[in-house]
Symmetry: C2
């Protein structure tokens, strides 16, 4: 499909971040033009384009086009546990509510429950996710069948899978299709033995791969790690060589000065999950510290069992609101910083250099933000409006890889939402009745 | 209009709170029936109803009907300052950005900017607001013309209005129309002299009226009050007799044990504004303390200059999320408590005994929550789904006083949203260019 967007306000997210008025053209899965679009023939000629015939010309009516949000930490199929396991501490929540029910999930369950999450990502303008969950084959099939860009991160831990299986996944699940990739990672320090961490490090060296994991989410996790190894999780990972090819951590709530130094030195990315950290009483991520030390921050929703929704607008407001509270400074972490975390930095974490901004040659992962809604009026400072006042209701369109998957409340992912809801309801009934 | 809702899941919010499946009937502005609706004729007869002819019969398709949310603290026309005055401390924000521009607003400005807020309330399922702002005549006209239920609270302070004008407002603006009322109140301790506080107390005694005000929003406010009077704002208000007929406070972030005792003794209501308190770095309201001491809590958005949106879903998540963080306890303040704050307790604060629940004889202030959206699936625990995962996108209908003012994204308030946006854009340009 060749699509011309016109009458748009465009935030490309290229530095310096600004709002331009004009047009954006998509050919297949690629952005081929961003500009005033006043003279199409001239632009075709000057830029050496083949004149394209537009399959659609979309009047944006002054609405915003911007890069889709990148959800840099999630467990999609935990849609199963939404509202099933609330109001309990993290360790109880994992051991008593989450792990037992996860043990029963099969390929079809994970496939359908992941599709349910995709529907939700699309409503929130999320065009790419960094996933960590069970059954990566089912997950990749679900994302791929829906057209959702994704990178899976291995969540290996002492309960599985084997190192051989992990290596097989790295080989099989990379390059199988253009929307999906598979990265090195493990669940967390507290679910891995030292030997396993050493084996993971060896594998990271073999593939020269960045590594991601849950890191320093709770004070208890850090305390127990210090009791075990005499150092924090970040330090033991670094000592074992796990960060030799970069990567980063999910949560990163309870950080020491040494931890920051390691993150800076190894070019690591901190992925913050503010709603989950509040709901599980884990704490508040030190966003301003990361910014001061020039450690990039990306944003994740975490899974729907701990959040309980997959909504980048809620996360964006929390990132800045909680930083202002934590720093006791209403000027901490401004809206542009947050927008960058939710788009560019997420893409960086996922290794997608061609999905960071709306620039010529980049993949067409684009959302349209509806300004013709009361919460976006008056139209004064659009980035502030989006970060401080935006909501899912403002997502008018979500395009991934040049395909419009969500527009005006309708989904175009090859299956009806109703069918997905019914399948997931059946799975939920079956798994919980069995338990 | 006589409207029959069927195939509904109904949360009446009557204790014990539960979800019932059935029908809800509205005659004019009143709920006349809630039940299984299996035999209409029988129900008509048994309940001594006049058989009504339905103007509309609405298939709810399993979606939720519940009482509309009550926004118990807002400054609607501050839509003007949305994204104009962010990222600065409260006192600077008030003195440098807010007060100067407010001084220029006239009747028409306040009228249009309040209408813009009404559009936003409707998208978030808010059916009643407790308002405090300039030009109460313009505000009441705007709310009334839109069909929005409202109670205005006087925001008198040392800059105005006069006590005579306040008394006139109490007399003129009460009973002028059925959707509106006007209550005693003042801005805050730090904007009133002791003499003015004494005069307000005298007026409260004359009308035997409850009194509301901003109270203990920031640590600085409490500190300066203690320096001035030797006691906290709550204590000085009580000493002056301001609470002799009840009322409550907005924000209530920095509270002492004595403050709690006064609130309990005087049957006061604490109105929490979590998003505003984060964004202005004011602090976290001690919700669990209020609950433990059985002091009722209601929820307000505060104005769109400090929040910056009017979204009860964001506030509800913050109420419980921040309580869990503050208490370091993931089981603090469960979803049912929050739903009660956002509905029943808000109505109590506003003095609307006939708007608390969906019970026979109550006013038809009803919202429909769309469960056929991915963030509400699977349908296991509906109150938790709404509080932890709900969003504006789930508001399928907002009815106030028996009239559907918002349905499937369309507004029915007698004016097109586009016209309101254009008017407010003009006002914004004029006032800021003048400044």
């Amino acid at each position: 499909m060749n699509i011309r967007f016109y009458n748009a306000r465009i935030i490309t997210m290229e530095e310096p971040i600004k709002v331009i008025e004009g047009e954006l053209w998509v050919q297949g899965n690629t952005i081929i033009y961003v500009g005033d679009g006043l003279d199409q023939e001239k632009v075709f000629k000057e830029n050496n384009f083949e004149p394209v015939i537009w399959d659609r010309e979309i009047d944006c009516k002054g609405n915003v086009l911007m890069p889709g949000f990148k959800d840099a930490h999630t467990h999609s199929a935990m849609t199963l546990m939404r509202s099933y396991a609330d109001d309990m501490p993290l360790q109880d929540w994992l051991n008593k509510q989450i792990f037992p029910i996860e043990a029963k999930m099969d390929y079809d369950d994970v496939y359908q429950l992941t599709k349910l999450a995709v529907l939700e990502y699309l409503t929130s303008g999320i065009t790419g996710v960094m996933e960590m969950y069970l059954d990566p084959y089912a997950i990749q099939d679900a994302f791929n069948d829906c057209g959702m860009r994704n990178v899976q991160v291995s969540g290996i831990n002492k309960f599985g899978p084997s190192l051989e299986e992990l290596e097989k996944r790295i080989q099989v699940l990379n390059g199988k299709n253009e929307l999906s990739s598979f990265m090195m990672g493990f669940h967390a320090e507290y679910t891995c033995s030292k030997e396993l961490l050493q084996d993971i490090s060896a594998l990271a060296h073999k593939y020269q791969a960045p590594v991601f994991m849950h890191n320093s989410e709770t004070a208890l996790e850090v305390k127990e790690c210090v009791e075990r190894y005499g150092v924090t999780p970040t330090v033991i990972f670094d000592q074992l060589g796990i960060f030799d090819y970069g990567g980063g951590g999910y949560h990163c709530v309870h950080m020491s000065e040494t931890d920051y130094q390691i993150m800076k030195k190894r070019n690591l990315i901190a992925v913050t999950n503010p709603a989950s950290n509040l709901k599980l009483a884990s704490g508040i991520c030190p966003i301003s510290e990361f910014l001061k030390k020039e450690i990039p921050v990306a944003i994740g929703t975490d899974g729907p069992a701990s959040n309980n929704c997959l909504d980048m607008f809620r996360e964006m407001f929390l990132v800045t609101g909680l930083a202002k509270y934590r720093d006791n400074d209403a000027s901490s972490v401004d809206a542009l910083d947050v927008l960058k975390m939710a788009t560019v930095n997420g893409a960086k974490a996922m290794g997608w250099s061609d999905c960071e901004t709306l620039s010529v040659g980049s993949k067409a992962d684009i959302i349209m933000i509806d300004l013709n809604q009361p919460n976006m009026q008056p139209i004064h400072n659009i980035p502030k409006n989006i970060v401080y006042a935006g909501s899912k209701q403002n997502v008018k369109m979500t395009m991934i890889n040049g395909k419009i998957l969500y527009e005006d409340g309708q989904f175009h992912i090859g299956v009806s939402p109703k069918d997905v809801y019914e399948e997931c309801e059946k799975i939920s009934k079956r798994l919980y009745e069995e338990s």
